[in-house]
Symmetry: C2
Subunit: 305 residues, 2 copies
């Protein structure tokens, strides 16, 4: 198999839009959508760092796509298309690549997007991939991390900790959440004009909330006992295989964290939980049920070199 086999036989069927020029040109050509801005995000995922090299190929493809779609959700953007760069180790099989592309095809259907371009190369290291995802957002309506105001409430979607538990425990129901996070795209769109600020949680609630607080120049207070947990995470905590602190600081959640004024009418179509408030000051304070500050050994996941 060479790169042109991969492009022609496996990648080209993923092209469903004219912008890609059939993957036969040097670049894709996108026309503007009147009255909209284009949200662009780019993530890189490395085997043995962001996923296990022996995770199912479909899941690796879908996770790479979905972590980017989660960024679009956080901006309130509707997904439009994506570019894929794939660094393939020697000896990768055609079957593996077929499964990888089946994973992409399924998510293209699910999220209404198409492959628009990219690059297929060899690497002497482990599998390495990068996706650039594009989405449209009506002019001036994008959500950013900057608008949280003192007095706003702090909300989170879904449940937290499942990604971290699922990484550790392949037998847990949470493992499916680790493999295939669910980007909160509908919620992101519904929060336009509602949320004062938003971001997605990828590296742990507390650490990401710190970036959020800095961007908005406020302090975020998180009431730990209000943080929503799945049955799988509750069960693991009871069994002492996992802790509340793990749920507050573990990565791979891909839920939305957002703020809204206290009297706002929130969209009813998604699981949303109020987990705290915005105060004057800086940084993040996590408090327990008594209101006392909790001390956490670490705030979240970060790459060290």
């Amino acid at each position: 198999m060479d790169e042109f086999d991969v492009i022609v036989r496996l990648m080209r069927p993923l092209v469903t839009s004219a912008e890609a020029l059939g993957l036969a040109d040097d670049a894709a050509l996108l026309s503007a959508r009147p009255g909209h801005q284009l949200a662009v995000t780019k993530d890189m995922l490395q085997a043995d760092v962001h996923f296990r090299a022996n995770d199912p190929a479909e899941a690796i493809a879908q996770k790479a796509l979905r972590v980017n779609l989660s960024d679009l959700a956080a901006m309130g953007a509707e997904p439009y298309g994506y570019f894929l760069a794939l660094g393939l180790p020697d000896g990768v099989s055609e079957g593996w690549l077929q499964s990888f592309c089946q994973g992409l095809a399924a998510d293209q259907q699910a999220y209404g997007i198409a492959l628009m371009g990219g690059d297929t190369t060899r690497t002497t290291g482990p599998l390495s991939l990068s996706i650039t995802a594009l989405g449209w957002v009506p002019e001036g309506q994008a959500l950013t991390r900057r608008g949280a105001r003192v007095g706003d409430h702090l909300y989170v979607s879904g449940t937290l900790g499942d990604g971290a538990l699922g990484l550790r425990d392949l037998a847990s129901p949470a493992h499916a959440r680790y493999l295939r996070p669910e980007p909160r795209l509908k919620l992101g769109v519904a929060l336009r004009g509602v949320a004062s600020a938003a971001m997605d949680i990828s590296d742990g609630l507390v650490q990401d909330a710190g970036h959020f607080a800095t961007a908005s120049d406020v302090r975020l207070v998180i009431e730990a006992e209000r943080v929503p947990l799945s049955d799988a995470v509750r069960h693991a905590i009871v069994q002492e295989r996992f802790s509340l602190a793990d749920a507050l600081t573990g990565g791979d959640d891909y839920e939305l964290l957002f703020t809204a004024p206290a009297n706002t009418c929130l969209p009813a179509n998604e699981l949303i939980t109020c987990i705290g408030r915005v105060e004057a000051g800086e940084g993040v304070q996590v408090v327990d049920a008594t209101g006392a500050a909790m001390v956490l050994a670490r705030a979240g996941y970060r790459h060290h070199f």
Copy 2:
């Protein structure tokens, strides 16, 4: 050093446009340029495959950027901005990263572009990077590979073979061309409305001409003795350290290959050489000075897995 040090101290100074939201958000937000389309290209480069791991850090950064800018040049697009995904091996030094970012900063100045977003991660393998470059092209004026017509002349910019010689021979003046290709951006813009089709040559003239012929559904005839060669390449051929076939099939040229009708007035501001013609049929025929077909052992570079 962790990823946030790298982002705040080294990457953020490369942001000079509002679209990036200071690298502090989940995605960049781009407004449309009226009357223009957005050309988007994404390449991936792996250490030990696309460059030597011990090439100068500035040159690695610039090559990664320039191979993408070369794709924009081939579309007739003006560069606008780029996204960088960086997979850093353990133990990468801050000095190396500073040099890498200095290389980017110098090219940002040279090409009038800015960093708009991206991702910094760890890898357990060698250095891995991906750039997504964006450029503007007036609506309907993009150059593609599809418009070559029977009777058109076939042209190439610059000289060929320097990248391949420079990879092999670090002492050759061609080594600088291997390290830092020169994207033909001004020529690309000048060819709008002039060239009938265009592409950039990255994997070897003959192989890339094959893709070009397929896209335009024509045959390309290349007259080998008309292919422009630098003094360094001529010298290496005389010394039998390199061959004309190497120049016709070696990668890393990043020159433009384009076609134009025979009576077209070509832009005078760049080195352009007519190297052949477009005929009815398919594929590529390389002919020698007598008009006899040349047989080449290989057509160009392709990744095998």
